[in-house]
């Protein structure tokens, strides 16, 4: 019996894998994808691709553009300045996104609802809950690049536009995860506080929220790393971050400059990654202890 059901499962899995492969081939065919397309069409393309990857070995130590004035700061300085701008946008965007997410996460969670409650209050709270859940999924279903284009066309190219473009989708994602982290928090402490006369909102603010706080901070740090990458990418729509420098150098085929900026960005991301891991380890150190 057991053997038969295992075989049955395998058979089903094989069909699913086959189905996926067929779907891929159909997509490839309808998009005009052929193995020949993987080969660059002419010699110049080959050369350009080669030049790009060869440049990885020799990132520019000086500007490739001969028109750069003599007294311009060195390229590494310009790169670092780009990183600083990237950091500023990421930090600014997150500073807007976190408070927004806390507010939306609160209304998108249910652990602060009073108990017992009449049908009217229940309906009202559920209405708020779903409205905020919908708002958060709306915000995060639009990518930050699309938000940037929308906001740039409305407000023009301003630093604030870049920050808002980051803050909106990030607040949607943060808020959704915040609300789930809050609702998943163990209800033991909340029940104990309720039993000694705490009000529902009081229980939330002094019990549930403090208990969930380390998780909220850990997740926000992770999202800050994501914001850093997104902030760099916003350069491609004209907002002044290191992404803009990469885009401009790339347009002029200054590949060595591109790689200089790439490496600087990579270094920053690795650095922030290490820092975040350190903070996470310290914040979550209590978890091991509490299980002992």
């Amino acid at each position: 019996m057991a053997m038969n059901s295992t075989i049955g499962k395998w058979g089903r899995r094989r069909w699913i894998v086959l189905g996926i492969v067929i779907l891929f081939l159909l997509c490839a065919k309808s998009l005009g994808l052929t193995p020949a397309g993987l080969v660059p069409p002419d010699e110049t393309r080959w050369e350009r691709a080669g030049a790009f990857f060869k440049a990885a070995l020799s990132p520019a130590m000086d500007y490739q553009d001969e028109n750069v004035p003599e007294d311009a700061p060195p390229i590494w300085f310009k790169g670092l300045y780009g990183l600083l701008l990237t950091l500023k946008f990421a930090f600014g965007g997150m500073s807007l996104a976190v408070p927004l997410a806390l507010i939306m996460g609160f209304f998108g969670s249910s652990s602060w609802w009073p108990e017992p409650r009449g049908w009217f209050l229940d309906l009202f709270l559920r209405g708020i809950y779903f409205a905020f859940r919908f708002l958060m999924s709306l915000l995060r279903s639009i990518h930050e690049l699309i938000w940037a284009l929308l906001i740039l066309s409305a407000f023009g190219l301003s630093p604030l536009a870049g920050m808002i473009a980051l803050a909106l989708p990030f607040s949607g994602t943060l808020g959704k995860v915040f609300s789930e982290l809050i609702d998943e928090e163990s209800r033991d402490a909340a029940a104990a506080l309720k039993a000694i006369g705490h009000r529902p909102l009081q229980t939330f603010f002094v019990g549930t929220l403090p208990a969930a706080l380390p998780n909220l901070i850990t997740y926000s740090l992770y999202r800050f790393e994501c914001a850093l990458r997104s902030s760099a990418v916003l350069g491609f729509v004209g907002i002044e971050t290191i992404g803009l420098y990469i885009e401009l150098s790339h347009e002029e085929f200054y590949y060595n400059e591109v790689w200089t900026y790439f490496y600087l960005l990579l270094a920053l991301i690795v650095l922030v990654d290490f820092w975040g891991a350190g903070v996470r380890a310290r914040l979550n150190s209590h978890k091991g202890a509490c299980e002992a």
Binding site: A189, L193, K194, I196, G197, H198, R199, A211, H286, A289
Partner: protein
Amino acid sequence: MSSAFELNGVTCRFGDLVAIDKVSLSIAEGEQVAFIGPSGSGKTTLIRLLNTTAVPSDGSLSVLGYIIADQSVESLRVLRSRVGTMPQHLGLVENLTAIQNVILGRGGQRTTLRSIRDLIIPSRSDTEKIHQLLRRVGIEEKLFTMVSKLSGGQKQRVAIARALFQEPEILLADEPVSAVDPARARDSVRLLTELSGELGFTLCVSLHHLELAKEFFPRLIGLRQGRVVFDGAPDSLKDRELESLYELTADEMMADA
């Protein structure tokens, strides 16, 4: 003496399960009572009825002279702020410090804003009071230690200090020693009964540790399948009654298997 609890034919059902079955009993203010009985006998439900987080399906219950069925949500909340509860799993906020957890004991008597402020900047008088309480329960050096860094016994003391800071008229404790070793269990039970004597609050504790209940409590109430099968002083508890309290019937053995 006026009564802390007055139960008259109280029944509590959860769906088809009858957790408490027509229980009538009276506990006077200042009494020290242990609820004993096997797991599933209704001890926890009884505690939840007494702190009004569960409501009787039938019968009448009054706490400190208030008939529970007649109270509004708000007056029940105020009543709860006068009754301390130590739940079985203590219900501490693990990543707050000992003082922050203890200060929450008085939250039911304070506004929400005041409680939030208490967590961030506790008042000097509260800090001093809590320091004394922690000295009384033997962990004064842990005032600013995060609860998650404490041992099981120390956490239990934080929970006791939180209950004391509440200055309750009644203290309910659900299996307070289930998570600590026998020597500490004895110390904790002694501490609770001593404090009850010193401060004069009514103490009701559920214990599955029969020896401790007999040693420290002048009154034992035995529960079995939601009914009171014994109520009296430990020395009047006969072996036969004990056996009937813990012995499994043939049906229950089948259910366990």
